[in-house]
Amino acid sequence: MSVKLTEDMLKALPDSRGHFGAFGGRFVSETLMDSLMTLEREYLRLKEDPEFQATFDKDLADYVGRPSPLYFAERLTREAGGAQIWLKREDLNHTGAHKVNNTIGQALLASFLGKKRVIAETGAGQHGVATATVCARLGLECHVFMGSEDVKRQSLNVYRMKLLGATVHSVESGTKTLKDAMNDAMRDWVANVDDTFYIIGTVAGPHPYPLLVRDFQSVIGRELREQSVAQAGRLPDALVACVGGGSNAIGMFYPFLGDESVQLYGVEAGGLGIDSGQHAAPLCAGRPGVLHGNRTYLMEDENGQIAGTHSVSAGLDYPGVGPEHAWLKDIGRANYVSVTDEEALDGFRKLTRIEGIMPALESAHAVAYGLKLAATMDKDQVLVINVSGRGDKDIHTIAQLDGIEI
């Protein structure tokens, strides 16, 4: 099933209660309701405030280094033997990933709201680093919650955050990964709701977070529209992005939702394979439920307990996904697929060796699927892969898998 999404339909979502169809909403304990309603009100006001938008745009240009390039990957295109493969280079942003687009926006919101203390959750550490970075720049106190498993996997990013002046809280509860980091960030927020701004790193969480994170990340897709027309002479035929919570994907997809000719592919972490159960692919293999403040697709057992996830990439190792993706799946506007750890590692190696671009393991999922998809398309078609982050943080993981100690 596919529907034509008109501009009016898109503007109406999420609705006033933060719903995207059956998904989204605001499922939190009462203590947070007032803060979320205030945040929603203030954000909707600032969204129309020329001063706020001008500050945001200027920061994206001068601090982040936007626009990020659209790069034609000529050798990779030959390798795949199908559609032209173009790369949206979010890896070239300051701090090395798309995450900073959102943290700049939310830190500005924090400043406009007069909050001096910032908290964030992080999986791979990219959002934590991006949050610590903007906090350093704006002089805000920064606390990052990170599962102790991820602290081990991503020690480089942990140290980066500390250098930037953030306090990193290692989370020992539950599965000790991203979902537990988010639980602890929520707990901190409940206790410090008066002076604290919670910078959520993805398009999940209670309303208005999926809305505001999508808005801040949509700069990716807006730039891409212009770049694609200018450089490739047309709108893309297919967009490919990895999906953990789904912020880089929604940022890329959103400005194209009304363009029926543009096919959208979100690539989830297939881990050891969907059939193994060891994966992080709720859209491919989960079912709707409620976690972290929103209704969305989840990985859970038959009793509604949240299931453990597995992915070689810490940033995709999350049992939920942004509610707008859940909606796009159900209405058939976007396709959600998965690639395994092994395929992602192969994608990492190919992009590294063929184009000299080392992607984050998260983005390598999009690369792997993009190569497969391009091969099925015509040579005059345009496929764009979102290289959402750079791979430096993953060198230890790759070396370890290769049996090399560095």
Binding site: F27, E30, T31, D34, R187, V290, G304, Q305
Partner: protein, 270 residues
């Protein structure tokens, strides 16, 4: 009149306050929960809040998180919790039981199936921590049709407008969360709670139970003075954790904890 309403009305007519313990079902083991519930009643409890364990209890501190982990390790599902209440009802038809938990296990079971099973088991009220009234369109009529009291939280951050709106969606009682924080995290400021609860009483006719931060007879009495009931959670769950391998010692410890609270609350009536 619901069982909850009946108990609270009877207490009020005697000038007494409700003692409402919270324990996590299945902690330390599902086989022990029903006996534990009877022990709570024997120690002077008026209503029992029975926690449904969840893998991601975001509004809870470490004490209740660990209780959830212990309960889940032994396979305590929502269905099993409902079965525990059904067994409890075989010998206790008087004490109201409120299930307190997170939405996802109910959603996974199916709201209608859950509501039917809860009513059938003799459950009286449902408190869903992460379900504000705004999102309760689907469950509210299912609960209402089966005389399950929906119990919602009020927090220090809740505006007057919301207090009124939430109270309209509630029956049985409203649960005032005395602190900004997770369960078991901070000491309460009794004067501040008294001021706020008095204000809540101005905005709703429903009984007001107060929870979070009540640890002993002194805090129970201080909060009982201004409310209709006190909810005691983390200190009980912590006691369960300390005596998890010895049920007899556990029942004694819970009795030793609750008896002075009961006495302190009843001394307010004289």
């Amino acid at each position: 009149m619901s069982r909850i309403e009946g108990v609270l009305k009877a207490l009020k007519s005697q000038g007494r306050k409700a003692l409402i313990p919270f324990v996590t079902a299945g902690d330390p083991h599902p086989d022990e929960t029903v006996a534990l519930m009877h022990a709570l009643v024997a120690a002077g409890s008026d209503i029992i809040e029975l926690g449904v364990p969840f893998s991601d209890p975001m509004a809870d501190g470490p004490v209740i998180q660990l209780a959830c982990e212990r309960a889940l390790k032994h396979g305590t599902s929502l269905r099993r919790v409902i079965a525990m209440v059904k067994e409890f009802r075989e010998t206790d038809t008087e004490t109201p039981v409120v299930l307190m938990g997170y939405l996802n296990p109910m959603e996974a079971m199916g709201y209608e199936t859950f509501a039917d099973a809860a009513a059938d088991a003799g459950i009286d009220g449902i408190l869903t921590v992460d379900l504000p009234p705004e999102e309760a369109d689907e469950v509210a009529p299912l609960f209402a049709a089966r005389n399950l009291d929906p119990i919602f939280l009020l927090a220090p951050t809740t505006t007057d407008e919301r207090i009124r709106a939430i109270s309209e969606h509630s029956s049985g009682y409203v649960y005032y969360v005395s602190i900004k924080g997770v369960t078991g995290s901070a000491s309460i400021d009794v004067d501040e709670v008294a001021r706020k609860v008095a204000h809540v009483h101005e905005l709703t006719a429903l009984p007001v139970g107060v929870g979070f931060g009540i640890r002993d007879a002194e805090t129970a009495a201080a909060v009982g003075r201004v409310s209709d009931g006190v909810i005691v959670g983390s200190v009980l769950v912590d006691t369960i954790a300390r005596h998890q391998t010895d049920p007899k010692a556990l029942h004694q410890a819970l009795t030793d904890l609750l008896n002075p609270m009961r006495k302190a609350l009843d001394s307010l009536a004289q």
